[in-house]
């Protein structure tokens, strides 16, 4: 397997095509011959588009950028699963060796009312930025920072904060959730900051603001856990539990802190 000694696959693709947000969409069927198992999934779509351009058809719009699983731009439902069949893998890192000769592959955009379709497979994920805007930061202006080693951070806390911070903001959690909740995305950012000492001053304010903003745009979490299954970074569900705890506490804490003024 691998080693540049790829085997060729014949594939049938059913791809969602839609000209714009208010147009009616439809599935188009395309046949591909000779896709190497060494190709990535998106390289397979590049080949499809080359062929479409050659035959005078407008190529399929799909989004990607880094193609190494870190920027979070790519976002495809592949055979009904966000980012496809391989666990812990973003669409761009999925390779064709995960498929077999003769397979039919259904490719759709992220499914969520809060992610309206722009064109074909591209969707608008800007509500995720709104959640970050609501408090996904530690308020430290440039120049105001003390020496980095002034505050020791227990390695375990730092490592766990990293596990949360690894989120790439792709929105697979929303697409996979039956409620289209963004709880995993929100919790990952909340806990990244709530777990480190630097994030304590704004802990309760941040938690309340981010969760409330999430609720404005997205559905509510009912603990299905589909988000974790789809997450290319396998962000643990623990963060949702901890955020729920912090959220409840924040309702009281924020009043109490205000009372201290």
């Amino acid at each position: 397997m691998g080693s540049g000694a790829g085997v060729d696959l014949r594939l049938t693709l059913k791809v969602w095509r839609q000209d714009g947000p208010s147009n009616r969409g439809r599935f188009e069927t395309y046949k591909l011959e000779a896709i190497s198992t060494d190709a990535s999934f998106l390289e397979m779509l590049d080949v499809l588009n080359e062929g479409l351009i050659e035959s005078g058809e407008v190529p399929v719009v799909f989004e990607s950028d880094c193609r190494e699983g870190i920027c979070g731009t790519c976002n495809l439902m592949i055979n009904g699963r966000a980012h496809g069949p391989q666990k812990g893998t973003a669409t761009c890192q999925l390779h064709m060796r995960q498929f077999s000769d003769g397979d039919e592959i259904v490719i759709e955009p992220w499914r969520a009312a809060s992610f309206p379709i722009i064109r074909d497979l591209a969707v608008d994920r800007s509500p995720l930025d709104e959640i970050i805007k609501a408090g996904g930061y530690i308020s430290v202006s440039t120049g105001a920072a003390p020496d980095a080693n002034l505050t020791p951070v227990p390695k375990e806390a730092s490592d766990t904060a990293f596990d949360a911070a690894a989120c790439i903001g792709c929105g697979a959690c929303v697409a996979a959730c039956p409620n289209s909740a963004a709880q995993l995305f929100t919790s990952a950012k909340v806990q990244h900051m709530n777990l480190v000492p630097q994030g304590q001053a704004e802990r309760w304010k941040r938690t309340e603001a981010m969760v409330d903003t999430m609720e404005q745009y997205f559905g509510s979490c009912t603990n299905h856990g589909e988000c974790h299954e789809a997450c290319p970074k396998e962000i643990p569900l623990d963060f949702i539990a901890w955020t729920n705890r912090d959220y409840i506490k924040s309702k009281g804490k924020n009043r109490k802190l205000a009372g201290q003024k």
Partner: protein
Amino acid sequence: MTTETINSKLPKDWKTNIDDAWTNHKFDMKLVNPANKRKFDVIVVGSGLAGSSAAATLGELGYNVKVFSYHDSPRRAHSIAAQGGINGAKNYQNDGDSVHRLFYDTVKGGDYRSREANVHRLAEVSVDIIDQATAQGVPFARDYGGLLDNRSFGGAQVSRTFYARGQTGQQLLLGAYSALMRQVALGSVEMYNRTEMLDLVVHDGAARGIVVRDVISGEISAHSAHAVVLATGGYGNVYYLSTNAMMCNVTAAWRAHRKGAMFANPCYTQIHPTCIPSSDEFQSKLTLMSESLRNDGRIWAPKGFDDARSAGDIPDGDRDYYLERKYPAFGNLVPRDVASRNAKTVVDEGRGIGPLKNGVFLDFADAIARDGKDTIAAKYGNLFDMYERITGEDPYSQPMRIYPATHYTMGGLWVDYELQSNLPGLFCIGEANFSDHGANRLGASALMQGLADGYFVLPYTIGNYLAPQLGDEAMDTTEEAFVTSMQDVEAQTQRWLSIRGTKSVDYFHRELGKIVWDRIGMARNKTGLEKALDEIPSLKEEFYKDVRVLGSANTLNQSLEKAGRVADFFELAELKARDALHREESCGGHFREESQTDTGEALRDDDNFSYVAAWDWNGEGEAQTLHKEELESVHVERTQRSYK
């Protein structure tokens, strides 16, 4: 070609007192008082480390900032993909590091083709970056006492690299992005996502604003400001295959060049030694495996030619650990340019490995035997997983296959010490400028430079330009300069759709990439470069006649976006070849086969080439004019770089 002097606005005392030169320069610069900052509009293009950190900081200071990004969110910028780490001269490891040592290593690593004053400032502010990022909550690696951990990187003999597993760029960018979003929430920064800059507006010799296209609606609009900051990254995708993201391009910088901003040292490109070799013709990009792997991995190739045995079957006696053999002092941690050229030599000799014989081994067997699999997994687990996903091979049980790939571009828009181009009001920061790395960048220094420029340099220097303009309004976008520029952009957009040729934009990009890689890649020579100057224009002519861009301009049209970017790559490629041809010396990432030592190392010609080559646009179809900025070595003695 001319040799007129360029005013690089170096601090007055940099030769006599480099330790305080930046501090003194800051004192000499004019300030804008806090209440007046809101009277100035600043445009920032790009939202990577440099752009986000600059925009956030300018917003904090009180300026009105507009940020433009072609991504759907600022967090997607390609800084996010940087793996290994960020240098900071903290000396937390007590191993002899200092600001001066980081300065020295960077000047030497850049093969003495950078400005000493700039590099010293970079080393000075490196320590502040680590503080700032830590305060933002960036989860850098820590030891069991809770203090920050470091590792070593190529070109250095101290451990000064701070890291966050193999995702340091991601964590630093998310830090800068969160600072940016805080300012967006506070209203000091206005964010324009999915908006691509397509022209710089220049009036009376100064930058006045930009013209952009909304990539969703296709709407073209103009935005004016008192200053424009380009933070638009490097031009590595001129090679088509590189470690850059698919959308990385030179367009913003190139359009500024066409409006009079000089482009410096385009031939300086860094080829990163440890990337996964390409496997077939559909390959869309090359994936980097962090340089940090060279801390524990040993690079080798079979001693024999066309050795088809699998790695495990090749006994130690038949292996050539060529970096350890040739460079005992630095071993596998030689700088990137040296490691890359040696891999090329091995493969060119016919000792390459893998099905296409296009790689060398990076072997962890000894490290796993020494430290245990768990330790290695804790350090590099995500990289090993990534490797396995891409190749289908398990690097715990067999060595990785690696080969060099284009990674970073040291050249870029020419800027003075204050990061301002030769066009007043146009600033350029991060990889997009040419400033700090000379002819070769050391590992873990790109993140450092992007954040240095954005957090700690530009926010001071921009005030020096803005202060005298107090009371002046930014230009009205209904004025002629803006209207003409919008018409030009509109016409160019329509042009791509009207060609109706037979071949895709990607086809031309791939073909261009092959020429650039073959002729202006890891090794260059006069004949090849002259051929490139022949081949590039003729392919470009075909592109303008035969490219096929389908669809329309008033919708999301990725081929249309790419067409404009590839057109700019054509012009850049030509300049790159001309720059490489004129520089008849080898230095850092620029290796001219005619100029090498007896042992095949890069041989500089300090007498004739110790200058920055800054090229000035002369109009369509005309060769650019060369301006030289002479470089002086005052604090670091120039030697033949040796890592033996």
